[in-house]
Amino acid sequence: MTESSLLIADEPGALPAPGSAARRGRRASRWLPLLRRTGFYLAAAWAAITANFLIPRLMPGDPAEAILRQFQKTSGGEQLPPGAIDNIRALFGDPKTNLFQQYLDYLGNLAHLDFGVSVSRFPVPVSDLIATGLPWTLMLAGVATLLAFVIGVVLGIVTGWRPGRLTDSVLTPLAMFTTSVPYFWVALLAVWVLAFHLHWFPLSGGYSPDEAPGSFGYLLSVLHYGILPVATIVFASAGSWLMGMRNMTVTTISEDYVQLGRAKGLSTWRVMTRYGARNAILPSFTSFALALGHVVGGSLLTEMVFSYPGIGFLLFDAIDKRDYPLMQAVFLLITLATLFANFVADSVYSLLDPRTREVS
């Protein structure tokens, strides 16, 4: 299947004959795709922020009211300072003020990184909770995504380069299986076998509670605790990269330019990398968004299984305890992080494919 990139014009035709005017035009248009891409992602970020504003207001009932009630419950009847009530109203809706004014207030709060205070862990500000959870998730999801991408793509090239041979007939069905397995179930099995029975890894958590934070032993424990969560995400997500890359490689190696690379007498390695893989990898970047969505969802679930101290676990906790301020903030953060990762992937793609650099 041929999928055009998100933002790139469908088929840039051959450019007109060389001429100084045409060349000048080309130089000017070099920045156009970057501008368009940036514009799109800014619009997407705005849409996400607005959705975050609208969703609680569109829901049946009054979330703000629910939060205030929840507050009374968790804080044992303690009265909220008036500022905090206004804050919650600004975040979740106040039937008494008009929607536009609410929207402006909401944006103002965001600009100051003010997400309100957590309900379930009153009176800790949400931003503090997120600040402690975010590095863990970024590390877990980032490392896992990168590893899965590299492993999947490399194995996909290997299997696709010699299709129908032994590695292909072993790895491809295996990849097909791993892509269809639920992440959290793999994680559960891994915990059960590797942590519970074999004691190779700790059962849950993100670091050893016995080590002083910042010490070398602590860092080692972070690595040790992180292996299993990362491995399960990689296991469950590398397969889809492998399948995509394998099929693209099989298609690419029968392209004329790869045949010509062989005909030139270049080394197999050079033909495979510079002619085959270099072209076959391009669609992987256009399907990055879809795959990333899976990894993000998957790593949230994985955090739950391992009680990993990231924002996925925080989100789960927030939903469980109906801690709306925390929920809203975590969701916004996840969304913005995903948008950023997609922006990077799109940019890398346009760097890798000269055909997209200049849009006529």
Binding site: L260, A263, K264, G265, L266, S267, Y275, D353, P354
Partner: protein, 351 residues
């Protein structure tokens, strides 16, 4: 174009001896393979242009991938030999040569120009880099700067400004890409250039320009060409000799002028009459009735007999062999004397 360069090139020395070449497309288990080329035998001399013509599906593309050893998955050379004679060395059989040994011959002895230059140039490499990697592969010690300088000379030969070397393939026009492909094929001064319909994707004006450039370069560098096309009239202008293929076999082979003025095989005659010559007064065109035979299930006897106006009794069940006739060879019962059709395949078929 009008002054014939055909006689300039040295013609006595054999470059390529193809013997009984058979190419099959292997099918899943119970089914027999589809034979795309059957029992091809011919010679090619240094500096000679051999045209191969036929309709699509006649096996001419399979011949190309067999000669260049660029066969894709189900295609396999199942029989025959391709002897390449090289300056100062024993001849080698390209069919059996190991991939490692073959790598050294590639581009330095045998180069290829593909049908569509758009698909044949790597879209993510600058034009110059695609010259440089071939040059540096075969000239050990050539640095990057020298390779790019050589690339500039090469593209200048086909009339492309050297500053276009910095361009990516999609930034060049179709004709420019095709001329660049030809220059690329000549980068390592090969003895043989195989061309697979290099002019089908360009307009007629560009087609003529490319042909004259091929002739010009051949006169200058002395390489031999196997030029495959469905357009016989084009070959008449370009080739020294022409082989006509039908259903995987060569049905007629001879000097280009003889083939045009006096075609022996009814198929050759039909092919000649169905294309307008490039440089000749207008005349009435006639097509060939029917359609090319299926290779999976070729007709018995002479594969052309279902479409042949002059078929007679032996054509239906006996396959005619390629026999000397006049200056060339033809495989047709019209020209075979009694008993000829069971005789051995002649080994030497040069002019």
């Amino acid at each position: 174009m009008n002054d014939s360069p055909r006689n300039d090139a040295p013609r006595d020395e054999v470059l390529l001896e193809v013997r009984n070449l058979t190419v099959e497309y292997v099918q899943p288990a119970p089914e027999p393979g589809v034979v795309a080329c059957r029992d091809l035998t011919f010679d090619l001399h240094r500096g000679e242009i051999l045209g191969v013509a036929g309709e699509s599906g006649c096996g001419k593309s399979s011949l190309i991938t067999a000669l260049t050893r660029l066969q894709r998955m189900p295609a396999v050379t199942t029989d025959g030999e391709i002897w390449l004679h090289r300056d100062g060395g024993p001849p080698v059989d390209l069919v059996r040569l190991s991939e490692r040994a073959l790598r050294r011959l590639r581009w330095s002895e045998i180069a290829i120009v593909m049908q569509s230059a758009m698909d044949a140039l790597n879209p993510v490499m600058r034009l110059g880099a695609q010259f440089a990697d071939a040059l540096r592969e075969h000239h050990r010690g050539m640095n990057k700067k020298a390779a790019w300088a050589r690339a500039a000379e090469l593209v200048a030969m086909v009339g492309i400004s050297p500053d276009r070397l910095r361009a990516y393939p999609h930034e060049l026009s179709g004709g420019m890409r095709q001329r660049a492909s030809i220059a690329l094929a000549l980068a390592c001064e090969p003895a043989l250039v195989v061309m697979d319909e290099p002019t089908t994707a360009v307009d007629v004006v560009m087609q003529r320009q490319i042909l004259s450039q091929v002739l010009h370069m051949r006169a200058r560098l002395g390489f031999a060409v196997v030029f495959v096309t469905h357009d016989l009239s084009l070959l008449l202008e370009l080739a020294d000799r022409i082989a006509i293929m039908y259903a995987g076999r060569v049905v007629e082979m001879g000097a280009a002028r003889d083939l045009y003025s006096d075609p022996q095989h009814p198929y050759t005659r039909g092919l000649r009459d169905s294309f307008p010559p490039l440089f000749a007064p207008r005349q009435e065109l006639h097509g060939i009735p029917g359609s090319p035979p299926s290779l999976t299930n070729p007709p018995p006897g002479c594969a052309f007999h279902p479409r042949c106006a002059r078929r007679f009794e032996p054509c239906d069940d006996r396959t005619p062999l390629l026999m000397p006739r006049g200056g060339g060879h033809v495989a047709c019962h019209l020209h075979s004397t009694a008993g000829n059709d069971a005789g051995p395949v002649p080994k030497e078929m040069s002019l």
